[in-house]
Amino acid sequence: MITFDAVTKRYPDGTVAVDRLGLEARTGEITVLVGPSGCGKTTSLRMINRMIDPSEGRILLDGAPVDTVDPPVLRRGIGYVIQQAGLFPHRKVVDNVATVPYLLGWNRKRARGRAMELLERVGLDPAMGERYPFQLSGGQQQRVGVARALAADPPVLLMDEPFSAVDPVVRTNLQDELIRLQAELNKTIVFVTHDIDEAIKLGDRVAVLRVGGKLAQVADPKTLLTEPADDFVREFLGRDRGIRRLQFVSTGGLRLRTDLTVREGADGRGDEPWLLALTAEGRAAGWLARGRPGELGPAGTFRHGRDSMRAALDAALLSPSGHAVAVDEQDKVVGVATRQALDEALTEAVHG
């Protein structure tokens, strides 16, 4: 656990970057520091590994003040990932990843072996180890950055806007990968971002900081969205707070109809204006409108019980029928959530 105990950082010119910050980053959790620029989130992060020393207050790492440890020694025990990856351009990827093991005095063979293992772990071909960083794409470099931070298996990981400089698709991939890795590794992660969506997606707990380095609120993402502490937090969360809250509502309780499907090629009969055509494998082929056989409209799907209500609503909006198609892990259709069913679930979400 990382504890900020009334930490203040004041610069010689009088600027206060962090103002009496009290915060705990729990062991095995992702704690996200989020806020506009000038809120002191990066400064706070850098005080943990003593790249910056606080003016007042203390930071404890599992109960021990960090200022009792020699900075280089402290830092070798804390993984660190930064925005542009910060890879060493003159070292091969494998040696970049092995940086901290080398600093800890591991022999070359063991350090490189460990580095190869980590490249695989972050989803890179180990053959990339022999390349130089500039031969990699931005997303790949960022993965190498994560592998490097993990190389000596530190219990704590600091991440300073690690995914801000890559394009949105790659960013989403990297975020998913981090969630997957964290499920395996259970590190204590402090993650800095200015992107509230990223904070809500990744954080077990989210600390919102305001300009001047004051903590506005710290809570789990769902609580943050439902009960913002004040106008600043409410405004920072943005306009779609209601929609985003649906991310935390499960589709498990959604009432599904199973009488709205028909085999592909068969004619739709009955009174229903829309029927869902299924392939031979039981996957969604498309929506059939009554009276227009052979014309298939796109079917929006969500994974029943695993995706959130936000995904279900999105699926409904993508279907001409206005219904969302529930599928299982193999993409087989398990039923249809009608508008009515979605409406019921939304009503419950608002009141429950």
């Binding site: 020694v73 830092r75 070798r76 930064i82 003159h90």
Partner: protein, 224 residues
């Protein structure tokens, strides 16, 4: 060729190793020493000074100004000035050449290390490098191409400038020129120029080789 004055090759053969001071071989080794010492000493002095200029920013402008003025001074008056201190010895030639080397190498060191991207430096700090290790393993290797480019200029100009020392009797191969001036005769001039150019080419080639060995990533970068 034939009768009269000896041919170029005869002259070389006769003067290569006479066993007396002033043989071509002696001049060559004098020349090598007088140009090598400024290159090595120039680098050895420019490194810490350059690093100091990075550590204390205000130091760079005055340091650069001083060395630029030294660089602007013609070598001959500098030699004359130094004779009163160091006499008619190779040191009198070597000292100004060290200054010239530093004038080129201090900016090379400063520019090279300042070219290390800030995020690379920051991440080195965050990984737990000590300052010395960061300098040796991260900053200097990344600065190496710029520093070596400076060294190539210094090597060639030092090798060429040593010959001016002939005017005070300490010019290595340059002595062959003064000799030819006193007694119009072509072979010494040809040999002097030839050997000086050869030395410069060899020194430059060695530095290019060193750069290739020291900075393999630069070659990979050019290949892409």
């Amino acid at each position: 060729m034939g009768d009269g004055p000896p041919s170029l090759w005869e002259w070389i053969a006769r003067n290569w190793d006479t066993g007396r001071a002033g043989s071509i071989r002696d001049l060559l080794s004098d020349h090598l020493l007088m140009s090598l010492v400024p290159i090595v000493a120039g680098l050895a002095l420019a490194l810490p000074l350059g690093l100091a200029c990075i550590r204390w920013r205000w130091l760079y402008q005055p340091t650069a100004a001083v060395f630029n003025v030294l660089y602007a001074l013609p070598s001959l008056p500098l030699f004359m000035l130094l004779i009163s201190v160091t006499g008619l010895s190779p040191v009198t030639v070597i000292i100004p050449l060290i200054f010239y080397a530093m004038a080129v190498l201090i900016p090379a060191v400063v520019d090279g290390i300042r070219a290390v991207p800030e995020h690379v430096r920051q991440s080195a700090v965050a990984m737990g490098f000590t300052p010395l290790r960061r300098l040796v393993q991260v900053e200097l290797p990344i600065a190496a191409p710029v520093v070596i480019a400076g060294l190539r200029v210094v090597a060639v100009s030092s090798i060429s400038l040593v010959s001016v020392g002939a005017l005070i009797g300490q010019g290595g191969l340059g002595m062959l020129f003064t000799r030819a001036y006193q007694n119009p005769f072509l072979p010494p001039v040809v040999v002097g120029i030839g050997l000086i150019v050869l030395l410069a080419l060899v020194a430059d080639g060695l530095l290019v080789l060193a750069q290739r060995l020291l900075t393999p990533w630069e070659r990979a970068r050019r290949a892409t």
